[in-house]
Subunit: 188 residues, 2 copies
DNA sequence: GTCTATAAGATGATAGAC
DNA sequence: GTCTATCATCTTATAGAC
């Protein structure tokens, strides 16, 4: 539909993931896509509107990616590896943080609608992970202590933390090593 | 010695942990301690100077806390639990994020001296954790796969990610459950 | 839809009085 | 050491021309 709108969201997403939502301006977005700052207000009246749309789209795209994994992956281990690969791909595309990991850090400075979206993303991920873990345990492919919801929270926190760690170390391989260790733990 | 300087650092630390380094101003600090904004420039000429001092002090205090743990804790499990408790205490003091976890998210917007300090904090923590894990494996108290440095990175990423998760869920208990699960894994 | 012009406020920072 | 006054700049946002 609206090409400019998509360009704005793409640029804003990149900036938010690399710098944080509080560390970029309408002007930064405008310069990236070759228009003038105030033109963006036509598409997103306030920065808050932009933030809400950003999180909404990110959540939808991530949910689609998870659905795609469910269709394609043959084993539970494969599902989990592909899930981790989504985060790794984000990291390798310009050293970006997970958008909702970044916004989690900035949470207290964000409007309530944005906060709710961020919470939604985290619970979406935990629900999907818990489902995969539950499946794996039922088929005997996975083995872990505690309930799957609790373990899902551990895996997600580990992946988000691993993205921070990889950025600090300036080493994408660090993410991979942490993610791999986290997942290997489940096939003991 | 300099009481005002310490007050400034205390206020700045709180603000940086709650909102992020890019989301507070000299004025915010000044209002908290009852002086005027520009007065802060006498103690910290630039915000960058403040950031460097902030990370430096945080690193030192954390290192001291780790040394204290080494003196007091009787078992390796106890050492690890107390280490995790440092993060939990931060979280429970006004829902603060680990300063260097927050700065890890904002990393690309920070000056090189600050970035180096953040990297230093993460490697300090990993080194301390790796030492504890190595000790635990030698005495047979712990059991885990892979080398201790790699496992230390997993634990630290898990704890930092757990802080983000707990803030998003608005539930400090979430940090505790994730941390506990991470550490229980080591005593299989 | 995008532009220019502009407002209103915040920000990091400096100068100079006390 | 802290103050007031002030600066240049940036930021979100609006109004109105094209």
């Amino acid at each position: 539909m609206d090409e400019t709108r998509a360009q704005i969201l793409d640029a804003a997403e990149q900036l938010a993931q690399q710098r944080g939502f509080n560390a970029f301006s309408y002007r930064d977005i405008a310069e990236q896509i070759g228009i003038r700052g105030p033109s963006i207000h036509y598409h997103f009246p306030s920065k808050d509107d932009l933030g809400v749309a950003l999180v909404e789209r990110y959540r939808e795209q991530f949910a689609q990616a998870c659905t795609h994994i469910d269709r394609k992956a043959r084993t539970v281990s494969d599902r989990l590896r592909r899930f981790a690969a989504l985060f790794r791909a984000t990291l390798e595309r310009g050293n970006r943080m997970c958008l909702c990991g970044m916004l989690a850090a900035e949470l207290s400075t964000l409007s309530e609608p944005i906060q709710l979206g961020v919470q939604g993303f985290w619970s979406d991920c935990e629900r999907w992970l818990a489902g995969a873990l539950e499946d794996g345990r039922e088929t005997g492919e996975l083995s872990f202590r505690g309930d799957s919801a609790r373990r899902a929270a551990v895996v997600l926190a580990g992946l988000e933390g691993a993205m921070l760690a990889a950025r600090v170390a300036d080493d994408p391989g660090k993410f991979e090593r942490i993610a791999r260790t986290l997942l290997d733990e489940l096939t003991a």
